[in-house]
């Protein structure tokens, strides 16, 4: 089987990222093709979250090369953020606003018009099971799992080309986890690329095309997982 030419979603070469003097990533080399689902594994502190944050344009590149969706991370971090959706440990939501208001704000910030944002927000929240009273409750009053679902609804509404998910299943009940897996599969059908970090090896290997193991801030091996 000869080399496969595919559009590259993420392309990193010896990427190093720092937080002050603390090394987050110590030289990551990684390629993710468009439409792939990649699972990041590794022990705690291996750099999985940092790698996701680097690809989302939040963390600066200290040295090496990094290109995400055609944007060079050394020069165009802001451009990356428009095309990328990050689901982090924190929920990026405003406590005093309701679920609906939070999702609508995020969608309007992403460039949608007021009306379209409202429609998509409603649809996304409904899909995630946040309806009725839940939709009009302030986010601060929701449980952690419900907040997570609202964050996922934001991603669902935005439909970014690259999804970066950090422990997406954490805090969700079984039904919500299955729901999330379904959403991920659909997004891939629609052409998005998904990279996620998870400790749930069984569920992840079912979903992902391949797994990448991180340790000590860089990629250890790239075993090919037959999906």
């Amino acid at each position: 089987m000869g080399p496969i030419h595919m559009a590259s979603a993420v392309s990193l070469r010896q990427a190093v990222a720092l937080a002050g003097h603390f090394p987050l990533l110590t030289g990551v080399t990684l390629d993710v093709a468009e439409g792939e689902i990649v699972h990041l594994q590794g022990p705690n502190g291996a750099g999985k979250s940092s790698l996701l944050r680097l690809c989302s344009g939040l963390v600066a590149l200290a040295s090496g090369e990094a290109t995400v969706l055609g944007h060079d991370l050394a020069s165009d971090r802001r451009g990356v953020r428009r095309d990328v959706g990050l689901l982090g440990h924190a929920s990026f939501l405003y406590d005093d606003l309701t679920s609906t208001e939070n999702v609508r704000f995020a969608l309007r910030a992403a460039g949608l018009s007021g009306r379209e944002a409202g429609v998509r927000a409603g649809g996304a929240l409904e899909r995630l099971g946040i309806t009725g009273r839940l939709a009009t409750t302030q986010v601060a009053k929701l449980s952690a799992g419900q907040r997570r679902r609202v964050s996922i609804a934001v991603l669902l509404g935005r439909q970014p080309r690259l999804w970066l998910l950090d422990e997406p299943h954490a805090g969700l009940d079984q039904a919500s986890r299955d729901l999330l897996d379904g959403i991920i599969a659909e997004s891939r059908e629609a052409g998005s690329t998904i990279v996620f970090a998870s400790h749930e090896l069984a569920r992840a290997s079912g979903m992902a095309d391949r797994a990448v193991r991180l340790a000590g801030g860089r990629v250890e091996t790239e075993p090919v997982v037959v999906a």
């Binding site: 110590t26 030289g27 200290a62 040295s63």
Partner: protein, 265 residues
């Protein structure tokens, strides 16, 4: 953008170390610094000697005029230091000239400047007291200098905040620019405010003094030697920063290696 997907088989090449900062201060630089220091010392000593013993008393001021030889030079250095710090901040922010040396210069200049500003305030207060009868009056220059002092302190406090060095450096640079633009506004508004009440009773800039002969030379010497002293202090402070950063970056290389080893079984 296409890339060829091949099975990864070969081991990764060793990752590059992040390059350490600081250029070598050449031998020439060290010599220049030392000679500046010696000249400055000689100049300051000469100024003090001339000022205290050689120059005459002035009409209406008496011995107090001797402060003339150090107060205006100190004030000049305070403002010069601030100007240099702001210019260095601007250069640091400008993409084409972004280099850590400008951030170091800004910090060094500000630290030196705060010392001189404090001295300016003290000597200004001493000079004015016999005429005003009080230690402080809201003279526009003195008030602006007091404000400059507080601005410096805020800037230095910002530089010392724990956090990512590059972030802090950039924020400090922006903060100094914001403050710099405020200084003329403050001076203008304070002098306007004062002029509404009464004209300043004592002109601290000594414009009304008839400065001639040995007084003029001593004053000039004072300006020159204090400026040299400033240059010497800033030069040394920059070197200290370079050494500190070098130590920190060596720590970084070690930290990178240590972290990589975390992954090895």
């Amino acid at each position: 953008m296409t890339t060829v997907l091949e099975p990864i088989s070969q081991p990764e090449p060793p990752a590059p170390a992040v390059s350490p900062p600081g250029r070598r201060a050449g031998r020439g630089g060290a010599v220049a610094l030392r000679s500046t220091g010696l000249l400055a010392l000689a100049g300051v000593v000469a100024t003090v000697w001339l000022g205290l013993w050689v120059t005459p008393k002035a009409k209406g001021f008496g011995d107090l005029v001797r402060l003339l030889y150090i107060h205006p030079p100190m004030a000049w250095v305070a403002f010069l230091a601030y100007g240099v710090a702001t210019l260095a901040s601007l250069l640091y922010l400008w993409p084409r000239t972004r280099h850590p040396r400008f951030d170091r210069l800004a910090g060094a200049s500000a630290e030196t400047g705060v010392v001189f500003t404090g001295l300016t305030l003290v000597t200004g207060s001493i000079w004015g007291r016999p005429s005003w009868g009080v230690w402080w009056t809201w003279d526009p220059l003195l008030t602006t200098t007091a404000l400059l002092f507080v601005l410096y302190l805020g800037y230095l406090a910002l530089r010392r905040v724990p956090g990512d060095a590059a972030t802090v450096a950039r924020r400090a640079a922006i903060a100094s620019l914001i403050a710099f633009l405020d200084v003329p506004i403050v001076y203008f508004s304070v002098s306007w405010w004062r002029s509404l009440h009464q004209p300043p009773t004592v002109d601290l800039t000594g414009r009304h003094l008839y400065v001639h002969g040995s007084m003029a030379w001593t004053l000039l010497l004072g300006f020159v030697s204090f400026t040299l002293a400033y240059a010497w202090l800033v030069g040394h402070r920059c070197r200290l920063s370079v050494l500190r950063e070098r130590e920190a970056s060596e720590g970084l290389a070690a930290a990178l290696e240590e972290r990589r080893l975390e992954g090895a079984p």
